[in-house]
């Protein structure tokens, strides 16, 4: 009995001691004489490796000189985890989130304002392209700086255009150039469509919801926007917004909801060879600067057979319209090493470092000044198009709405019902506008109730 008892105790304690002495260890050797800055970032794979090289370069140079060591931690759902860690009082020193998160985080007091630090490091409005500088602000304060940005353009398959050159010419269209207006895009798409005898789609000219990542921002190409930032009102009933969503639905009416859904369910992940643009079953696609990298890595045989151009607008006078978005670096509220964290952010925003990172990620630079080396050596052969678009006065960022997750959910539901022809934009958008405006007003009211009167939220002061 005694032996059994001892054996049991050893069995219970043994593994614990074993883990303690021989268990997993932190692999990174952290220098004891430096301030450790924890940096949570969303990236994994190649993008992580590339950002790590920037972190290592900082640690070996500026970090060494200033006694700072940045510790990179790849974190999934980084935005949610950052918020929860901030609420718990143990945030990272730097978090790599997305610029659409900035209004929500800033409105909820989850971020440190960076105006003073940025100014002290010489980072001002003139440093950035206007669209990106604006995206880093909420309610007039700077809350983020960019790590890598991109903008969207029309990508088209030159081989598919050439294969239908006779038909395109017969329709009065030039197969050697992309469409310049929405009307032209529709005309090109019709000619480029190849349907099977049963009506199913073999090759689609263009599909507004493939991949549909930027469908929410379609009004920009129609000269409209669903958010009036000056008056803090949703403007979904603006005729230009309505028209833009009617245009999306017109594709479902023309090709048939069933054929569209079936075609889309046969496509694979964005980064797989089943991506319809890379599978060459989709002739034109609205996508970001980074697509060049994926084409080159996933389907190198397509290199040189595609091109990028400004996505066409409804009004021919409206040129170089684009939607810009970015990965941003923020310092969560309550971070322990704010100044040291900003040293790293400022390092990333140095022109040479920024251009190196953006080149590796195959993205544009957010900076106003771009070197010839960046333009000449970039992996995207159409980088000049993307840089021109990002610098254009018609470049738009994400509307600074603090309830963007709710807007996204509503719009996701709207697009699904739109594509099933269950609703029309004209009947649904007024209802959606009313619902979202109510949610926004309630959010502002709650935030104002949570804050002192002097810190009231922008736009309005609602009675309790």
């Amino acid at each position: 009995m005694r032996v059994l008892r001892i054996a049991l105790i050893i069995l219970l304690i043994g593994p614990g001691l074993g883990l303690l002495f021989f268990g997993p260890r932190d692999t990174a050797e952290l220098p004891r004489d430096r301030v450790i800055v924890d940096y949570w970032e969303k990236w994994t794979g190649n993008e992580e490796t590339q950002m790590r090289s920037i972190v290592n370069a900082f640690n070996d140079t500026v970090g060494k000189e200033k006694g700072i060591f940045v510790r990179y931690l790849s974190t999934s759902s980084v935005n949610q985890k950052t918020l929860i860690a901030t609420a718990a009082g143990v945030p990272p020193d730097i978090a790599g989130i997305w610029d659409p998160n900035v209004p929500q985080f800033a409105a909820m007091d989850a971020l440190e304002p960076l105006d003073g630090l940025a100014e002290a490091h010489g980072i001002t409005a003139g440093t950035y392209k206007p669209v990106h500088w604006k995206a880093c602000h909420y309610d007039g304060k700077l809350y983020a700086l960019i790590s890598t940005p991109y903008d969207v353009a029309l990508h088209y398959n030159k081989s598919l255009f050439a294969a239908k050159s006779t038909e395109l010419r017969a329709a009065g269209l030039d197969p050697d150039r992309p469409p310049n207006t929405i009307a032209e895009l529709d005309a090109y798409a019709k000619v480029l469509d190849t349907l099977n005898p049963d009506g199913s789609i073999q090759v689609a000219g263009y599909l507004p919801l493939e991949p549909g990542w930027y469908a929410t921002y379609t009004p920009f190409w129609f000269g409209g926007s669903w958010w009036d930032d000056e008056n803090k009102r949703f403007t979904f009933t603006d005729p230009k917004v309505v028209r833009s969503f009617e245009w999306i639905q017109s594709y479902y009416r023309r090709l048939g909801q069933s054929a569209m859904s079936e075609f889309r369910s046969g496509t694979g992940n964005f980064d797989s060879p089943q991506n319809p643009f890379m599978a060459e079953t989709l002739a034109m696609e609205q996508q970001g600067t980074f697509l060049a990298n994926y084409i080159h890595n996933t389907k190198p045989s397509m290199d040189g057979r595609w091109a990028a151009a400004a996505f066409p607008s409804d009004d021919p006078a409206l040129t170089d319209v684009t939607y810009c978005t970015a990965d941003v670096l923020v310092i969560p509220r309550g971070a322990k090493h704010v100044n040291e964290a900003f040293e790293f952010i400022a390092y990333v925003n140095r022109q040479d470092v920024m251009e190196r990172l953006c080149s590796m990620h195959c993205k544009t630079s957010p900076l106003a000044n771009v070197s010839a080396k960046f333009m000449n050596e970039h992996a995207n052969p159409y980088i000049a198009v993307f840089e021109r678009l990002a610098a254009s006065p018609n470049a738009h960022g994400t509307p600074p709405v603090p309830i963007l997750p709710q807007v996204g959910e509503e719009l996701g539901n709207f697009f699904q019902r739109l594509s099933s022809l269950e609703i029309t934009p004209a009947e649904e958008l007024p209802l959606m506008q009313a619902r979202l405006q109510k949610k926004y007003d309630e959010f502002i009211k709650r935030q104002n109730n949570r804050k002192k009167p002097a810190d009231e939220m922008p736009g309005q002061s609602l009675e309790n």
């Binding site: 909820m108 007091d109 079936e262 997750p405 709710q406």
Partner: protein, 296 residues
């Protein structure tokens, strides 16, 4: 005196062994449950201290169309998937209880899907339900249905698809039924044989009453499980198309972790708990009419 001291020693020893669970339960279950009740009466974003707002969250819930949509979806799923799943599981268990060659192999085959991780099953079924390339539509086309459903891409068919998929995991329930079936006294079947009962009558008058406690257990577990469905639709449909598979727990999760409305999410959690308790109590109350325990 010595006995008392030994009893105390044994008690302390017992408490010592129990303490890891007690501490864990208090810290990670009891306190959070209590706090969530308090938060359900607060406006709480996590980032600012909770502010007491009385019944406002509960009042808002009842005027929230998405809340009602998720309630409808969840009940629809539960009303169809739970009885159908229990019926299928019982039928399969009765078949697997018949003595035949390869019985253990069949039992293993039925149980195996329950061992597949939820995410892996979801990915597998995503492909099976694929409108263009899926095996299900391939089979439907082979038997002459030229325009089979779009399944997860169609708001009408997404819910039936998830219900169909839920039957894939009946293996666990089957095993519990099998254990119950093996406890049915053989004498009852012999007596039924002597009375001239047919196969259906034996199932109706002998098997079902004998395993009624097991059916009751599966019913209660099923009510709790189906009203909390989350993982599979979260992975497979994200609640779409057009919120047709947006379940209660998914909306609760979105409120808590996407919109950071912890107070509102806590109110939802308490409504859910009360509904589960009410339905379980209803099942327990009706059980006295249809659940038969041996020896009673």
């Amino acid at each position: 005196m010595r006995t008392q001291s030994k009893e105390l020693k044994d008690f302390l020893k017992g408490m010592g062994f129990l303490s890891p669970w007690v501490i864990g339960f208090v810290l990670f279950t009891a306190i959070p449950i209590g706090l969530s009740l308090y938060y359900s009466f607060c406006d709480y974003s996590l980032l600012q201290p909770p502010a007491y707002i009385g019944w406002a969250n509960y009042r808002e819930l009842f005027h929230d169309p998405i809340f009602w949509k998720t309630v409808r979806n969840t009940f629809l799923y539960a009303i169809v998937a739970l009885p159908a799943g229990m019926f299928i599981a019982l039928g399969v268990a009765i078949l697997l209880n018949v003595k035949m060659r390869g019985q253990t192999i069949y039992r293993t085959i039925v149980f195996l899907p329950s061992l597949v991780p939820a995410v892996a099953s979801a990915m597998l079924w995503l492909w099976l339900f694929n409108a263009k390339l899926g095996l299900i539509n391939l089979a439907l086309r082979k038997i002459g249905i030229s325009e089979p459903p779009l399944w997860l891409a169609d708001a009408t068919w997404a819910m039936p698809a998830l219900i169909l998929m839920s039957f894939w995991g009946v293996g666990n329930t089957v095993i519990i039924y099998l254990a119950g079936l093996q406890d049915v006294p053989k004498e009852l079947y012999e007596a039924a044989d002597l009375d001239g009962a047919g196969a259906f009558q034996k199932v109706w008058h002998v098997t079902l009453p004998s395993i009624s406690p097991v059916i009751f257990f599966n019913l209660v577990m099923g009510i709790i499980g189906t009203l909390q469905v989350f993982g599979t639709p979260y992975i497979m449909t994200g609640g779409g198309p057009a919120r047709s598979t947006y379940f209660y727990t998914m909306y609760l999760y979105d409120n808590a972790f996407t919109y950071l409305r912890m107070g509102y999410a806590s109110a939802m959690a308490w409504v859910q708990l009360l509904v589960v308790i009410a339905l379980t109590a209803l099942a327990a109350w009706t059980s006295k009419h249809w659940v038969h325990y041996q020896g009673k």
